[in-house]
């Protein structure tokens, strides 16, 4: 008999915990669901995103919240798995009754959650996932997917970050492309090839490495033999760290530019020690006055979280929530349809630049909107080498 009672109690607890959560809803709160990886290999990135969101929410709440409501962030660990992303979206929307969704690192998860958001007519602001397929949904079926906005940048923009390095700084005539094996990288390469073909710069080799790869002797040999002017590296997973180490140790003597990856953060470069020397990368934001909000943001962020912002996950997260709040404020109401109309008219000066959405709800890229800087890391210090307006140094080739 005891066992029956225990079972019933357990069942009720399980069912009840779900329903209870919605009972405790307060009406003077604006709940936003945050879907980020908090465990698993991308936990570091999820943590950064979380910091960005938290700072934005804090600042907004200090000024009285949005339309008088205090923002409440409810986080969900998607573990970079689409199944968990979908489950989380459903839980956040149905049980926690969030007003909107924000975040998501992996495109696969974002695409799955986009479906849920569209079905539930909930706004989703993508602050990180980069697949072109996400905003393509908006174009495909505007009425169904108009709830999706992206203040992050797309794969096609990612590769434009490196262009000045080849054209202005190194005046390269050809390049070798190496990236981790993923659809994202293949999309990236397609866009890369298009851009450089148009500029008359040839691709003399491409290589894709396993996402958890740790041995690059083969690839480094190939690169050495093809003798490119520049290596464009886009190994965005942990394999990127090993690659940089081996690249440095192998004394390649070929300038290389690194597209966004886990290596492109101060803590990691510090960890690398010598092996991070002459590392050149393209952060989407840096503590230079890209807008008048940028430098103060960096000061506050470092003081609050104790690390130098990586510039994308954290900054775009911060900006994303700010844009959402701004859209709601201008609409003057929480009615989703009206907010969407206002968001489409966004012209917002964030930390990373100026946000304007195009007709597929993608934030525009380019001069006057969102761009990147090029930074070189030498002996533990970072030198901005491009654009000229922020530069405090010029590019130094590895002298060894």
């Amino acid at each position: 008999m005891q066992k029956i009672l225990i079972t019933i109690v357990c069942l009720i607890l399980i069912v009840g915990s779900g329903s209870l959560a919605s009972v405790s809803a307060q009406s003077n709160e604006l709940k936003i669901g945050v879907i980020i990886p908090l465990s698993g290999p991308a936990a570091v990135i999820g943590h950064r995103m979380s910091c960005g969101f938290k700072l934005a929410a804090e600042q907004l709440n200090a000024k009285g919240g949005v339309l008088g409501k205090q923002i409440k962030l409810i986080e969900w660990d998607d573990m970079t798995e689409p199944e968990r992303g979908v489950t989380g979206a459903k839980k956040l929307i149905n049980t926690d009754k969030v007003w909107g969704l924000i975040g998501i690192f992996r495109s696969g998860v974002a695409l799955a959650v986009a479906e849920v958001a569209a079905a539930e007519k909930t706004i989703y602001m993508d602050t990180n996932a980069a697949s072109p397929d996400i905003t393509a949904l908006v174009k495909k079926d505007y009425n169904k997917y108009k709830y999706i906005f992206r203040n992050a940048s797309m794969a096609t923009n990612f590769q434009q970050t490196a262009v000045p390095f080849l054209t202005d700084i190194t005046k390269a005539k050809n390049y070798f492309f190496i990236a981790e094996n993923s659809k994202f990288s293949h999309d990236l390469f397609k866009a890369t090839k298009e851009t450089y073909d148009g500029l008359g710069i040839k691709c003399i080799g491409e290589a894709y490495v396993d996402q958890a790869a740790s041995e690059f002797t083969g690839e480094l040999s190939r690169i050495r033999y093809s003798k490119p002017d520049v290596v464009i590296a886009s190994i965005s997973t942990v394999a990127g760290i090993a690659f940089q180490k081996q690249y440095y140790d192998a004394n390649m003597r070929i300038p290389h530019i690194n597209l966004p990856s886990v290596v492109c953060a101060k803590e990691v470069l510090n960890e690398l020690g010598n092996q991070g020397n002459y590392f050149t990368f393209v952060p989407f934001c840096w503590d230079v006055p890209i807008t008048d909000k940028t430098v103060p943001f960096y000061e506050i962020f470092i003081k609050k979280f104790g690390y130098f912002p990586e510039g994308y996950s954290d900054v775009r997260g911060y900006d994303g929530l700010m844009i959402l709040a701004d859209g709601i404020k201008r609409a003057g109401t929480l009615e989703v349809e009206k907010v969407i109309k206002e968001l489409e008219k966004t012209d917002f000066k964030g930390v990373a630049g100026r946000y304007v959405f195009d007709e597929t709800h993608q934030s525009k890229w380019g001069e006057g909107y969102l761009r990147n800087v090029i930074v070189q890391w030498i002996n533990g210090k970072a030198y901005v080498i491009w654009p000229k307006v922020f530069a405090n140094a010029t590019y130094i080739k590895d002298p060894r």
Partner: protein, 311 residues
Amino acid sequence: MGLRVTKGKWGTTQFVPVFSLVLLILIPFIVKDDFLLHVIILANCYVILSASWDICSGYLGEVNLGHAAFFGLGGYTAGFLDQWFKISPWMGLPIGGGVACLSSLAIGFASLTFKRDYFVIVTIAFAQVLWSIAITWAYVTGGEEGLRGIPNFTSNLVGNYFLALAFMLVSILALYVITKSRLGRIFLAIHEDEYASKAAGINTSFYKIVAFGISSFFAGFIGSFYAYYFGIVTPDMLSLTVTFNVMAMTFMGGSSTIFGSIIGAYLITFFAQYFYFFMDYRLIVQGLVLLFTVLFFPGGLIRIIFRSAYR
């Protein structure tokens, strides 16, 4: 090792399953919580995965560490059927199961006819190869973003809910009947003592392949359902994580019992989705609980709760 039901007694063994079944049927009407329904659908999927794994790894004793491969094969089959042939989901389910089953027969023939220990590793290898192919061959499989836009049986959540429930009940019943049949007894015999079974004239290789095939069919079947329900298929379906989760569920519920899978799958699925108070610590708690179970309750929860029915 099977379930003994004593006729006429209205004890735990009878009450709990009946009560739970009634509860499951009534929940969509009592509670208006889409999330709960979604979690139960997930749990039902894992019940089938878990019970099918049990037949091969528990009853037969050939531990299959590549179960996710067949789950994923079912899912991708559903995706391909939709993309290339526009076949309806109802047809897609058995085809998904069939594809998974055929692959398992091939693998089984190669690895089960040899010494036992290789099977484990071959199954891991098979799952890893499929996973790598799914990620690498992006042109066909969509890479890590997978395939999208797969239609579902019905856009009504409650409809899907009852569909999943029905599949779960039918599968459990089918697997139970198999374990109680001569086939099931042969699996147990081979598990107990392979040499004696061979001596008794049983073609052990043949029956091992059969068990593996049955196990994979159900995995593929529910993999297809999963694809139709979520509308997407990604390489995650083929990952080691899925296999490990299934392993934990079967074990915690009670291996070599089909009904144990129900307990294990529900327990772990609910825990994973609802334990979000200390999200950071969820996995380590899960690991410790599993460790605790392995050390002190290797028979699984079902043998504790239903002590009268299981030896």
